[in-house]
């Protein structure tokens, strides 16, 4: 099974969502012009997530006159587009720097992703000669996996909790503890050993370390045509009507594949107007497409088509063609007992609200860990999460972690917002300070918050909060105090967490 990986180009913008945020638009809509700039030269690209474009070199490279010429062509097209965006004022005035990006060409997604990382540092496209990717890989440290997670998808997809960067870090740290620092070290182990030690992670790692793509090529008959496509009797102008059909098709396609123990990782979506105009796009998702995620992607494709090409008539045809399928490692269906009606209804309701007020109006908690309760969960915009495929890790309250807050957890947690400022006064009426050795200048006696005044009944702490000490820009040196309060003039007791940072107290959490 020494199958050959496809030679691919990876274009990666490492901080795309931050860039889009700075522009004040969604990551997808900001990325669309970049995709279009590339599509002008390469007919069919895969869009995995905003910020990442992948496509096979075979045809485009021949057309452009070689890999180097292709990389230069794509780079120039993207830079022209980014330049145009800055000049036309779409970006002007926001003070946002042009986003950095890397272009890598190699055999297989991982090697190409690593080449793209390399290209980020050098500023020029990085092309690994055909056949040389394995050698490059064997010298590459395993922690490169963390940077490549978005391109190659989670290692061991199918394992609960394998979705996020944090669990990649765990895998990498495990490998390092085992003395496996480079992919070359991993490649010395047998597949059976890796699987025995790491389960599904091991199988994927074996393939990656040997320069193969994660998924072995699989030749299976695609679902029958009636399952994959729909022709409307008359042109449809309404986006919702098109998406309703896409929803049906996607459910049927995914259902058909699941019934055969498969899931689709690469999906070709084509939309056709009554006048023969077409929108075609390839979608890739390493851990398989769910029906809901397909609908979201088609929504992106449809919006972009309408906005940029303005088709002259309504949609008459929709086709979802699974281009690559993998054996479903029994992820969603077996884990959650299959999709329920309730899940679908909830996803539709979320989509409606997002249509009304934008993707940031709904946020989804995603486990991240850490010492500060405000950071245990990251609230992710709804369009960044595949609700059907959400796998929540076994949430263990981190009571044993040094510096973490013990249970019970506060029900309201606050960011460091300007209105979160409070006063904590000691018995002498002066603001309470904390020395570098975490000794308080005075016992806390009174807390003022807005117009309310509270007497301090009891307190715990101060506990140090020192996070990201290795990163001078984002380092936090703060202390945390748990306070039991009674509001003046009432018998009402309340508990809160106050944080002192840069000589200013703020409310950090509240037990409501």
């Amino acid at each position: 099974m020494r199958d050959q990986p496809t030679r691919v180009v990876v274009v990666q913008f490492p901080h795309w969502s931050a860039y889009a945020d700075a522009l004040g638009c969604s990551a997808r809509s900001a990325f669309e012009p970049v995709v279009r700039a590339v599509v002008a030269h390469v007919p069919l690209v895969e869009v995995t997530a905003p910020g990442i474009i992948v496509f096979a070199t075979r045809g485009p490279s021949r057309h452009a006159g070689g890999d180097d010429a292709l990389a230069a062509l794509v780079r120039a097209a993207i830079q022209r587009q980014l330049g145009a965006a800055h000049d036309t004022g779409a970006v002007h005035g926001t003070g946002t720097a042009r986003p950095r990006f890397g272009i890598g060409i190699a055999d297989g997604r991982l090697a190409a992703a690593i080449a793209a990382q390399h290209s980020l540092h050098t500023g020029t496209p990085h092309v690994v000669a055909p056949g040389a990717s394995r050698n490059v890989l064997s010298d590459t440290p395993v922690h490169a996996l963390v940077q490549c997670v978005e391109v190659i998808g989670a290692v061991g997809a199918g394992v609960p909790g394998a979705d996020d960067v944090a669990s990649y870090r765990e895998v990498v740290s495990l490998l390092q503890r085992l003395g496996l620092y480079r992919f070359g070290d991993v490649a010395t182990l047998s597949e059976a050993d890796l699987i025995a030690r790491l389960g599904a992670f091991g199988r994927d790692l074996f393939r990656l370390a040997h320069g193969m793509d994660r998924h072995p090529p699989l030749t299976v008959a695609p679902p029958p045509d009636r399952v994959c496509s729909h022709q409307f009797d008359s042109p449809v102008e309404s986006r919702d009507a098109v998406l309703a059909i896409v929803d049906q098709l996607a459910t049927a396609v995914v259902g058909h594949l699941v019934a055969h123990g498969l899931s689709v990782v690469r999906l070709h979506v084509s939309l056709e107007s009554d006048h023969g105009e077409r929108s075609e796009r390839m979608w890739y998702r390493a851990d398989g497409w769910s029906a809901g995620a397909i609908v979201e992607s088609v929504r992106w494709q449809l919006d972009a088509w309408v906005q940029h090409d303005a088709p002259t008539s309504g949609v008459v045809g929709v086709r979802l063609s699974p281009e690559q399928m993998v054996v479903d490692v029994g992820r969603q269906a077996s884990l959650w007992g299959g999709e329920r009606d309730g899940d679908r209804h909830a996803q539709r309701a979320i989509r409606r609200v997002v249509d009304m007020h934008g993707a940031e109006s709904v946020t989804i908690p995603t486990w991240r860990g850490g010492r500060d309760p405000a950071r245990w969960f990251e609230f992710v915009r709804s369009d960044a999460v595949d609700l059907e495929r959400r796998v929540v890790r076994e949430v263990a309250m981190p009571v044993t972690w040094r510096g973490s807050l013990p249970s019970p957890a506060p029900s309201l947690v606050f960011d460091a917002a300007p209105d979160a400022h409070i006063d904590v006064h000691g018995t002498d009426g002066r603001s309470v300070g904390v020395t570098s050795r975490h000794a308080m200048s005075d016992e806390p006696a009174v807390v003022r918050m807005g117009s309310a005044t509270y007497d301090v009944l009891a307190w715990a702490g101060p506990w140090p909060v020192e996070e990201r000490w290795w990163d001078a820009q984002r380092a936090r040196r703060a202390v945390r105090l748990q306070l039991l309060l009674r509001e003046r003039g009432t018998e009402q007791t309340r508990a809160m967490i106050a944080v002192l940072e840069h000589h200013v107290w703020r409310r950090a959490a509240w037990y409501a």
């Binding site: 329920r340 309730g342 899940d343 209804h345 909830a346 996803q347 539709r348 309701a349 979320i350 409606r352 609200v353 009304m356 007020h357 940031e360 109006s361 709904v362 946020t363 989804i364 908690p365 486990w367 309760p373 405000a374 245990w376 969960f377 609230f379 709804s382 796998v391 929540v392 949430v395 309250m397 013990p406 249970s407 019970p408 957890a409 506060p410 029900s411 309201l412 947690v413 606050f414 960011d415 209105d419 016992e443 918050m449 807005g450 117009s451 309310a452 009891a458 307190w459 715990a460 702490g461 748990q482 039991l484 009402q492 007791t493 309340r494 508990a495 959490a509 509240w510 037990y511 409501a512």
Partner: protein, 208 residues
């Protein structure tokens, strides 16, 4: 009349408070007191473990750690931040009602009684449960006001007041346990019921 569905399940330790075997669907429950939010999470947790989705509306600072402790199945929890204008707020929450069995809402101060009742009729039609929380005491600077909660005509009132904070001293230890007295009354519960509980462990942490 919509078909009557089984009540929304609650944790066994709350069954003595909700005598119908859970929270009857279509009802509006007003949660007040200093532990209002924790109480609302505790009441909704069991339902999320059997497939119901929970939307928390207008509480952008929800401490998800507390939701986890209360036993909420996080994979069926979302937060929504609708605009605060009364009409738009209700339209948005009504859209959520279509897909969510349980909603915990902190209404904006602008909410009118008319709009609140529009939402309540959606709740009845869709057979969901609406938990209205008043977090104004916790957020002196927020625009959410206690009055907004009164725009709703509640079927049940849940008063949740902390009766003891254990563990914390003047400079020692930390809060290890919080006991909350829950008092359930209101027009659909003429005989009020009380129980004192540790809300952080009413629903067992593990999915059976």
């Amino acid at each position: 009349m919509p078909a009557v569905r089984a009540p929304l399940p609650v944790a066994s330790s709350l069954l003595s408070l909700f005598t119908d075997g859970g929270v009857v669907r279509g009802r509006t429950v007003a949660c007040t007191g200093d532990a209002a939010l924790s109480a609302a999470l505790a009441v909704s947790a069991a339902a999320t473990r059997v497939g119901s989705w929970l939307a928390v509306v207008g509480v952008p600072h929800l401490g998800v750690g507390a939701a986890v402790e209360a036993g909420v199945a996080i994979e069926r929890l979302i937060l929504a931040q609708p605009p605060s204008a009364s009409r738009e707020w209700v339209t948005t929450v009504a859209a959520l009602v279509e897909g969510f069995d349980v909603l915990i809402v902190a209404p904006p101060a602008s909410l009118t009684g008319h709009d609140a009742r529009r939402l309540q009729s959606r709740i009845v039609a869709r057979q969901s449960v609406l938990l209205v929380v008043d977090v104004s005491g916790a957020l002196p600077t927020s625009r959410t006001s206690g009055n907004a909660s009164r725009a709703f005509v509640a079927d049940l009132d849940v008063q949740a007041n902390t009766v003891s904070w254990a563990g914390i001293e003047r400079g020692g230890s930390h809060i290890t346990q919080r006991l909350v007295q829950l008092r359930v009354g209101g027009r659909r519960c003429p005989v009020p019921r009380e129980a004192t509980l540790d809300l952080s462990c009413v629903t067992s942490q593990r999915v059976s």
